[in-house]
């Protein structure tokens, strides 16, 4: 209940942002939101102790599913696209998860990377999907209501904010209860979990599925924000970005991914303007600093302040 009230504040803030701010800011906020959802999914997975270097796979599937609906099936409704993105990614995750849930540590990380690279390899070579250039999508209605051109993005941002808040609350509930403890149990000691009569495989599988569907939702959101999809969305550097944001935010709070994603997008926007050639370097240095000094991510800063008050 408390979490629900806390969640209303960012929702109101984002709605205000959507209505009042310039287009570029709306665009940036939407991308941050999209990535925040993906990273929150990654946190669900990380609760079991696994890090995926291949969430770009589901990010891309979500984005392409939405774009294909628009481009090839002439579905123009954004709500349908978002659902389709999450569903398509969830479906593939349900399949691949059967295999991946058997792996741990770097084998899991690398195998998930390999699967994302398979999709990348397919996408860059399929002329029908625009190869390396990708293709455009355009959503004209939202739940059947026609959108005047120019306001679409503002509506999508509000929709995205609602999606994100709902998903975040669900994750909060899930991880705060028995399932969250069980997942931590799997991370700490699978042997004990099995010897209590539960299946670590199943826990990993379900969390993998959730993470995949959330990445798909994020991908569809990003596709709506940009109005374009391309194979880069599935490339391993995109997946690396998600991991980076997760590390930046830490795993302490469901808000962390969104805060971290916003910081990330803001910095990227600034860097691409003023220092495109040292952007990656700054990311790398920041990442090293976080790993060494703030092992729980930026959230440790907030926690420290709270404790010292």
């Amino acid at each position: 209940m408390k979490a629900a009230i806390v969640a209303i504040a960012p929702l109101v803030a984002l709605t205000g942002l959507a209505l009042l701010s310039p287009q570029w800011l709306v665009f940036m906020a939407m991308l941050a939101l999209a990535k925040g959802v993906v990273v929150l999914g990654l946190l669900v997975l990380m609760r079991t102790g696994l890090v995926s270097f291949g969430q770009g796979l589901y990010f891309g599937i979500g984005a392409y599913a939405a774009a294909l609906l628009s481009h090839h099936l002439h579905v123009a409704d954004a709500a349908v696209m978002l659902l389709a993105g999450a569903a398509a990614a969830g479906l593939i995750a349900a399949l691949l998860g059967l295999l991946l849930a058997r792996y741990r540590d770097i084998f899991f990380a690398m195998l998930s990377l390999a699967f994302s690279m398979i999709l990348y390899g397919v996408l860059v070579k399929s002329a029908a999907l625009g190869s390396t250039d990708g293709f455009n999508l355009h959503a004209r209605t939202f739940f059947g209501v026609a959108l005047a051109s120019g306001v679409e993005r503002r509506v999508f941002l509000i929709a995205g904010a609602v999606c994100a808040v709902v998903v975040a609350l669900l994750v909060h509930r899930l991880l705060g209860g028995h399932w969250g403890r069980l997942a931590t149990g799997v991370r700490d000691n699978e042997l004990r979990v099995a010897y209590l009569g539960a299946s670590p495989y199943r826990v990993v599988y379900v969390n993998y599925l959730i993470a995949g569907a959330m990445a798909g939702l994020g991908g569809a959101l990003a596709a709506l924000a940009v109005g374009h999809v391309d194979p880069e969305m599935t490339y391993w550097t995109t997946s690396g970005e998600f991991v980076f944001i997760a590390i930046l935010g830490g795993t302490q709070s469901i808000l962390a991914p969104f805060v971290a994603a916003s910081i990330f997008e803001a910095l990227r926007t600034i860097a691409s303007q003023y220092a495109p050639n040292v952007w990656q370097m700054s990311l790398g240095l920041a990442m090293l600093a976080i790993i060494m000094f703030l092992p729980a991510g930026l959230w440790t800063l907030a926690e420290r302040r709270r404790r010292s008050v």
Partner: protein, 298 residues
């Protein structure tokens, strides 16, 4: 039938290239338990250094054949300067951390090195065509192939044999195997593990740079060339079994042949095929072909 020879030759060429890069990656993992994402950047560094050195050599009007020596020199330079710099400056403070955290640390390093390369060499492509063209061409199965590819194969073979000899026939190599087998025991026996790590990383970096230096003449050297290489090398190493030199060789050969066959009959599926092989191997043998699949004692 007539296509078998070209497929095999292409496959082996590609495998040689893959092996040069993967050998260093698997060696570093085997000894240090670090899956080094920055390996791709060391490869790129080798390529850039080769362009600079061989470019200067040729630009100075010196005999063209000497440019091969420059390629080798570039690799050795990268290995003996950048390797120790990274190991002493960063990695030595990180030992003992979780393997996944170490992946993140080297990922950060990779990001940093990508930009360092841009700052030093700029963002425009560099070309170094001479060493590639110099040895000429030969005919095989009705197709024309550069002799340079044969040199590449020979280089990979020589490197592989030298590594195997160094590992299994020299005192230092046996120390290394001891460390791979049981780190705590070797420390207790007085092996200087810190020195072993430094040496291993330098050798691994040299191998990556060697791959880059000898690739430079065949491509346009641009920012980002290391990005694709690293995931390919991961695939090879994981197929063979992390930490296994023989595994890297077999993995490289497997990937090389599958890729060249795919390129021939179904070019769209090139990348797909490589990672599909990896996925299939891991399904059959979860830790790769040559890794021990052991159960924990409880």
């Amino acid at each position: 039938m007539s296509s078998i020879l070209p497929i095999a030759f292409d496959g082996i060429t590609y495998a040689s290239w893959l092996f040069l890069i993967s050998a260093g990656l698997t060696l570093i993992y085997g000894v240090m338990r670090i899956l080094n994402v920055a390996h791709g950047s060391l490869y790129a560094l080798g390529a850039y250094a080769a362009c600079s050195l061989a470019g200067a050599w040729l630009g100075g009007g010196l005999p063209a054949a000497g440019s091969f020596a420059m390629l080798l020199l570039a690799a050795l330079l990268v290995g003996s300067v950048a390797g120790p710099l990274i190991e002493r400056g960063l990695l030595q403070w990180m030992y003992g951390k979780d393997e996944v955290v170490l992946v993140l640390i080297t990922y950060a390093l990779f990001l940093i090195m990508e930009d360092v390369i841009k700052l030093v060499w700029g963002v425009d492509s560099l070309l170094l065509p001479d060493p590639y063209a110099l040895p000429g061409n030969f005919q095989l199965g009705g197709l024309t192939y550069p002799v340079y590819n044969v040199l590449l194969i020979a280089l990979a073979l020589a490197t592989g044999l030298a590594l195997a000899w160094a590992l299994y026939r020299t005192r230092q190599g046996k120390l290394l195997l001891a460390v791979i087998h049981d780190r705590d025991m070797s420390m207790a026996m007085g092996i200087n593990v810190s020195r072993v790590y430094l040496a291993t990383f330098a050798v691994g970096a040299t191998l990556a740079a060697l791959g880059g230096a000898f690739t430079a003449p065949t491509i346009a050297v641009t920012p980002g060339i290391g990005v694709e290489v690293i995931v390919l090398a991961f695939a090879v190493v994981v197929i063979g079994g992390l930490g296994s030199l023989g595994g890297a060789a077999l993995g490289a050969l497997l990937v090389g042949l599958v890729r060249s066959a795919t390129v021939r009959y179904w070019p769209e599926a090139e990348l797909f095929s490589i990672y599909a092989v990896m996925a299939m191997v891991l399904i059959a043998r979860p830790k790769g072909l040559f890794a021990a699949q052991e159960a924990r004692k409880i």
